[in-house]
Amino acid sequence: MNTVAFIVIAILTLTGALAAAALQNLMHAALSLVVAFVGLAAFFFLLGAEFVGLVQVFVYIGAVAVLIVFTILLTRRDAEKDHDFNWGGALIAIAVFAGLVWAILKTPSLAIDVVQIEPLTVKRIGEVLMTDYVWPLQCVGILLTAALIGALILVMEEKNSKS
């Protein structure tokens, strides 16, 4: 059953990603990217990483996708215009793909009989974040706070402009 699920999800994810790269209409491309995000979340669920899957849905679909569609909406006037085929992009994509394939082929394959690891619970993640990884967590917190303040300053109404 897992294999069937894997194949179905893989087809869904790849179709979404391909559509995101190939569709002419930018908004459709952005929405297809969401399908790919859903597929990734499904993979995490399939692997038993429930928390990561949920966060994937939460952050990528709830926030990143909305951010992308709004960016397109608010900045592009030619969202509907046809674009020429981007040869440079295709070349870079092929290069990255070839690099990844090369890296995967060079890596010695993992031992098949994996040690049975305990399922990762949300509680365990919280404990680790609050003990071993507390400093990275704090740094990320400061970074995000700085970004938030920066965004606020960018959109702040200037007090002394003409009323």
Partner: protein
């Protein structure tokens, strides 16, 4: 006797599954999920039909008129008539609309709403999808609503739709923050994101009679009120139904929808309301636990749905009594009042926890919440600034 009545639905499901004995494992798993899904859909679509007629009846009562009373006894078959009307209405898609996106928006919004009702524990051993991160699941599928609303607004290719969608997304993003942050104290005290564990933590009685629901602690009471208000906003209900403000932007992102697609949006709104109320009951009102020990013989699901009905009545009640808030008032309220109060709830819960939950913790967290509430009220008080209204853009 009371135990068998309590578990009668669970037993019924087991009986159905025992018919499949001998089948491969995955068939039984699939059948089990399908039974859950059909039960959920059956219960909540019936509840949706009932709720739509009850809402109109109650609103009618509040506005001193009858409400629907023509179809069936007391107008109870009104939803059937509405449903038939919606089904046979012409489905109009604007010529310039993005057909695929326009079609997918109601599908996505209904799917998210149905998924969200799945993680609520409806009774003892009655959680349709009992997963470890149930509460997180609820928020994760809830966050896809924003995308669905955007798709509806953008796909319709209509100014009012787009403006309505922008407003809806702005308010959803703003109120999602307090909604999530006020669940954190509960998660913190319980130490689990699983809805079942949260309900289990609220069992038993303090001092022998008072139920240990989180709404009866100072931080829990404050968090419950904040959660309820954010829930009102998330399900776009009056007084926060700015996205579909008829007097300003026709019907917001639903302007270009007709027939059954409009009904789907309507259904998703109600299902979202059920989901938010169900999670509120789970988090703060003790889930399916009975309020006093003597009444424990009543089945757990009856208690759950009784609490749910009270919250749903409050949704209708606020719609019948409160006028619509202005967009800027809503945003100010979210960022200047709700958010600081939500953070205070976290700190107050931590104080309550470290004081051992006794009288001292109770007092300290009460003092903290009251202090922040009073300070915020004084700071945000605009009564002194009453002056002739000035118009910035419309001279």
């Amino acid at each position: 006797m009371s135990d068998s009545l309590d578990q009668i639905l669970v037993r019924a499901k087991q009986m159905l599954l025992s018919l499949l004995a001998g089948a491969p494992d995955w068939v039984i798993q699939l059948a089990s999920s399908l039974i859950n899904i059909f039960a959920l859909l059956g219960v909540f679509l019936t509840l949706f039909a009932l709720m739509s007629v009850l809402e109109r009846k109650i609103l009618g009562r509040m506005q001193n008129r009858y409400g629907p009373n023509r179809v069936g006894p007391f107008g109870l078959f009104q939803p059937v008539a509405d449903g038939i009307k919606m089904l046979i209405k012409e489905d109009i898609v604007p010529a310039r609309a993005d057909k695929v996106v326009h079609f997918l928006a109601p599908v996505l919004i209904a799917a998210a709403a149905i998924l969200a009702v799945g993680v609520v524990p409806y009774g003892r051993n009655m959680t349709p999808f009992a997963i470890d991160g149930g509460i997180l699941f609820f928020f994760a599928v809830g966050s896809t609503n924003e995308l669905a609303v955007f798709m509806a607004g953008w796909g319709s290719n209509n100014k009012f739709s787009m403006l309505g969608a922008m407003r809806a997304i702005a308010q959803m993003v703003s109120y999602e923050l307090p909604l999530i942050i006020v669940t954190l104290p509960v998660v913190m005290i319980v130490g689990s994101l699983s809805a079942d564990a949260i309900v289990a933590a609220q069992s038993g009685y303090a001092l022998g009679f008072a139920p240990r629901w989180f709404v009866f602690t100072p931080w829990g009471a404050a968090a419950f009120v904040l959660f309820f208000v954010s829930g009102l906003v998330e399900s776009n209900r009056t007084p926060f139904d700015v996205p579909e403000g008829e007097s300003e932007i026709v019907a917001g992102h639903m302007t270009e929808y007709s027939g059954f697609k409009y009904a789907t949006f309507f259904m998703a709104e109600y299902l979202g309301m059920f989901a938010v109320s169900g999670i509120a009951v789970t988090l703060f009102l003790g889930g399916w636990h009975a309020p006093i020990r003597v009444l424990e013989f009543i089945p757990s699901y009856v208690w759950f749905f009784a609490k749910l009905s009270v919250l749903l009545f409050m949704f209708i009640w606020s719609r019948g009594t409160l006028p619509r808030a202005r967009v800027d008032q809503m945003m100010n309220f979210a960022w200047k009042f709700m958010l600081p109060m939500a953070f205070t709830c976290i700190v107050a819960a931590a104080v309550w926890h470290y004081a051992g939950g006794g009288m001292a913790g109770w007092l300290w967290s009460l003092v903290m919440i009251a202090a922040v509430y009073i300070t915020l009220s004084l700071l945000l008080d605009t009564r002194k600034k009453f002056a002739p209204r000035t118009y910035r853009f419309a001279e």
